[in-house]
């Protein structure tokens, strides 16, 4: 029984990170309508910025981390403005945008490699035995992750549901044309969704860097899991993406109860494929089905 609660705890920890990535990704996708692989690079930049400010320069965490998130946010907005926006006008933009986002991802990863070198880095926080909660062993930092993520998500949910800007975002993601007719500034929406999404990625990067460690190539698996979670949850719908993240996290961790550990990554992709087969609009998706499949 203790094993089960441990696996669930693990699932929640992993799921929190996936959900953060998925939420950010989904938020951007809902407005921009393309799969932005460079989102993974934003995650890495968030992590390394935090490392730079807190560990190398030596600022206290409560200063370093918000600045790191700001850096990630800025990066996401910049990339969108310089590389993606101009391509949005093209006729065959989907392929071009996908490729451009891959290119930016590679570019940023290489720059990080050049600046920080290839060695694995860590914050070197003291290691202590975890607390026993309901049979599961969780460290304080992991507890912080499990609590912070939902707090952030509730904040986002409130933002989307209650504030004017949030409603405008949702309207734009539903139907850009009508939203524009209603007087919503689409460019502002893009700006906000990109910024917010990137901030989430930056936060995810910092949490992972603290809890585990950092290396320049950490972005690819993060964006893939985020993508998967976003689709499984229901593309274009941020709360759905969040739930998708937790779903994937739990599935992976419960899955390796039976399967050899080497197949863990494959689990989320098998789930992805199953969803694409039978329910491409995702778990919680609603009317987006016709955009996904026939």
């Amino acid at each position: 029984m203790a094993v089960l609660s441990q696996l669930i705890a693990n699932g929640l920890i992993a799921g929190s990170i996936y959900a953060l990535m998925a939420a950010g990704f989904s938020m951007m996708f809902s407005i921009q309508r393309f799969m932005n692989i460079a989102h993974g690079a934003t995650y890495v930049v968030g992590a390394f910025s935090a490392y730079l400010f807190a560990k190398i320069i030596g600022w206290p965490f409560w200063i370093a981390f918000p600045i790191a998130i700001a850096v990630a946010t800025l990066l996401g907005i910049l990339i969108n403005h310089i590389v993606f926006e101009p391509l949005q006008k093209e006729k065959d933009k989907n392929l071009a945008l996908l490729l451009a986002s891959f290119g930016m991802f590679l570019l940023i990863e290489s720059i990080i490699l050049m600046i920080f070198g290839a060695d694995v880095k860590s914050f070197g926080l003291p290691v202590e035995r975890g607390m026993d909660i309901l049979g599961a062993i969780i460290t304080p930092l992991q507890l912080i992750i499990i609590i912070t993520a939902p707090v952030v998500f509730i904040g986002i949910w409130l933002f989307l549901k209650k504030t004017l800007v949030g409603k405008a975002l949702r309207a734009t993601s539903d139907n850009t044309v009508i939203a524009a007719t209603m007087g919503i500034n689409i460019r502002a929406m893009t700006f906000i969704s990109t910024g917010l999404g990137s901030a989430l990625a930056g936060l995810a990067g910092i949490l992972v860097a603290l809890e585990q460690n950092l290396e320049h190539s950490m972005g690819m698996s993060a964006i893939l899991k985020g993508l998967t979670a976003a689709i499984v949850g229901g593309i274009g719908n941020v709360p759905a993406a969040i739930l998708g993240g937790y779903l994937i996290g739990l599935a992976e961790n419960l899955g390796i109860w039976y399967l050899p550990s080497g197949y863990k990554d494959a689990i989320s992709f098998v789930i992805l494929i199953i969803f694409l087969l039978f329910r491409p609009q995702g778990f919680f998706g609603m009317k987006k089905r016709e955009e996904v499949a026939e």
Binding site: N10, L113, D119, V120, Q212, N213, S221, S261, D265
Partner: protein
Amino acid sequence: MKHAATILVLAILLVGCTATGNNVNEQDVITIGVISSFSGEMAVQGEHLEQGVTLAYEQLDRTALTHSYRLLFEDDAYKSDKTAAAYRKLHDIDGASAIIGSDSRSGNIVAPIAETDAILFCSVASDPAVVKGRKYVFKHWTTPEAEVASYLAVVEQQGWDRVIVLESVHPGVEAISDMIEKAARERGILLERHRFQSGDTDFRGTLAKLKNQDFDAFALFLMPNHLQTAGKQILEFGFEQPRTTIEMYDFIDDVSLFEGEWYIAPADPTGRFVASFTERYGEAPESVAPNGYDCLNLLVKAFEEGGTDPDDAMTVIRQLKDYQGAVGTLHYSGSLIEGGSIESPALKKMIVNGKRVLVE
């Protein structure tokens, strides 16, 4: 505007291809090429190799040498077709007479072509297939057999019979893990293997399953990022079993996480090497750095004492005995059929006060 872009790109290509500037024709200059991964996931390997090789190169006493040497590095981004291209460029365009390589994968790609071209190839690899049946290829890495034997000797001494292995999916790891599992079975020791892909950094699921089971120790055959995470998570779970490994504690900067643990490793880099390395780079040498250092020095020695003829140069290598390398006292062992290796012994070490210390 759009056409300009195309023309610009093509122009860069053209200029690049014709700028074969490095083509040196002097008789006396011997070019040694280094192929490794300097970008991508395995970039850390290239970084360490480069550090070791460059240090050796800088320390060469030019006045005492008959020939002059040139060092060139090529990145293969851990992709096989790039490895082959790197070799081709070094051999065909730069006229390299010898190559140094950093892992079994690139070793397996370069070895057959280096052999055909009669180019000396020093491969820091563990896979015996790299050197098998080859005249001009030799490897410089502690043999898995030596490490496995040492490791199991300690395991038996401790009276263990069930060890949990956490391993990264990686060729070097696979080779050792396979070997040790078999050897352990012969001695009645159970080695239970759990594999983790490179993107997977969460060991807690497996640890959860092991929590209430009865076993004697952990064997962590993990790449650096996995190693630190797993080491940490094991402690967080409150496991009391020892965390052992082969080699891997030499691959990370900060070993304080593994205080008090023992492990098997190739002989320590000699004090002199460590001192000059730390002075040059500001950090301790890791993984393949000392081997790179030795490879360069061995190749220079081969050319100095044997001349530029590949067969004569290889003879020098094959006669190697009691050579003071960065990885201790080296000697050559091998036959034409099984291929040659520069071997260094496997020793037991421990982490004491955050430092790596030789035991007995």
